[in-house]
Amino acid sequence: MAQRTPLFETHVRSGARMVDFAGWEMPVQYAGILEEHEAVRTRVGLFDVSHMGEVVFRGPRALEALNRLFTNDLSKVADGQAQYGCLCRESGGIVDDVVVYRRAADDLLVCVNAGNRQKDFDWLSGHPGGADVKNESDDWAQLALQGPRAAQLLQRLTPLDLMPIRSYRFARGEVAGVPCLVARTGYTGEDGFELFCPPAAAPRLWDALLDAGQAEGIQPCGLGARDSLRLEMAYRLYGSDMDDGTTPLEAGLGWVVKLDKGEFIGRDALVRQKEQGLARKLVGFVLTDAGIARHGYPVVQDGRKVGEVTSGTKSPSLKTSIGLAYVPPALAAEGSTFGVEIRGRAAAAKVVKTPFYTRK
């Protein structure tokens, strides 16, 4: 049976349309994906992302242990800072892409994708490196407040000064009386916050944000808008754009792979792959012909399949058809052209710079 977040009743009562996502019964839309997308780009939107999981590393060896499982470098961030990166297998394949919140060198919280909760915990706790590794996924609810008016709204509800909490920083504090970890992170490309709170308090926090946010034109949002917003930023989605069979280098995440930081699981394979050259790369493209590219559609060149689309939609902000695809390196440069096979016909596509959307 599908799992539910502490906000399930709230969503159903508010008339959200529910779908199954990675084994979770989640709202896909409230008012409509386009309307919600627009609200986040121009005002503020509120998402329930309590399906995300949390694994915590504690103890004197926590930082060192987690850093050996992580492609980015946690020694380079301060306490109160978050960092994005990948967990890799020995093969270099991606176990998950995660955000690590460094509360202290001996206390780090790993935020993992919903569909990978158990897999990640098994992987991480199987390589504890002397740290105390605990699955706290059921101990946290998570709300994402995203959009240009998120900060002004949140500031009214918290005694925390949000000014010093810049991008990828966080602090502990109360929001509407609910104890939270308040992080300036998100998956939309807008300014915004992710609020980690106790599950029992989540409905109260949700209602308080919606009530107070009337002044800012707040809109509750579902996973549909979350997906179109992240794709406009070319943020990768685990399970669609990458999996255990792809490496961070192939997925265009080389910027979070610190090969010179010292040993970490997957490093040797990634060094080798870098030396030998990549067989495929994830690129952003726009369709110059009519149509919408979708996950799984073939990338074709001279009538032959040479790659595959991993994400695609019609960009609500740009009104163009955008997507991500794995292509051979020869087709990966900006301006390269190839076909995307849509219902038996090749639609013309062109590689473009990402993100597709730039914040105004």
Binding site: R17, V28, Q29, G32, I33, L34, G224, D227, S228, A290, G291, I292, R294, T313, K314, P316, S321, R343
Partner: protein
Amino acid sequence: MEIPDTLKYTREHEWARTKGTQVVIGITDFAQDQLGDVVFVELPDVGDTVKKGESFGVVESTKAVSELFAPLSGKVVEVNDPLADAPETINDDPYEEGWMIVVEPSDPKELEALMDAKAYRAFVEEQE
């Protein structure tokens, strides 16, 4: 949800309306609501033939692709071209401005076999 009494319906949520000897075809209010925001539509050309129960085009929402199934067989005599630039019309007005194609039926009796509004309403209630 709107289900006009004067139309005929399919189990795939298309509607058909008689116009002289011809039949206008679109998707129902229920269908557009289930789809969500329609952002792309692909329709046949005038002169193409469509076959009852077979796909004659697609509608795409932000999230998904859905095929359109012909309620009856015949030749396409008119296509609602403005939908290409304004696919949201299908959400806003599925039974009037959001019509899709007009068909000259090859077997007008096929229309009689479709559900009437009462039967379609019962069918939709079962789905929900």
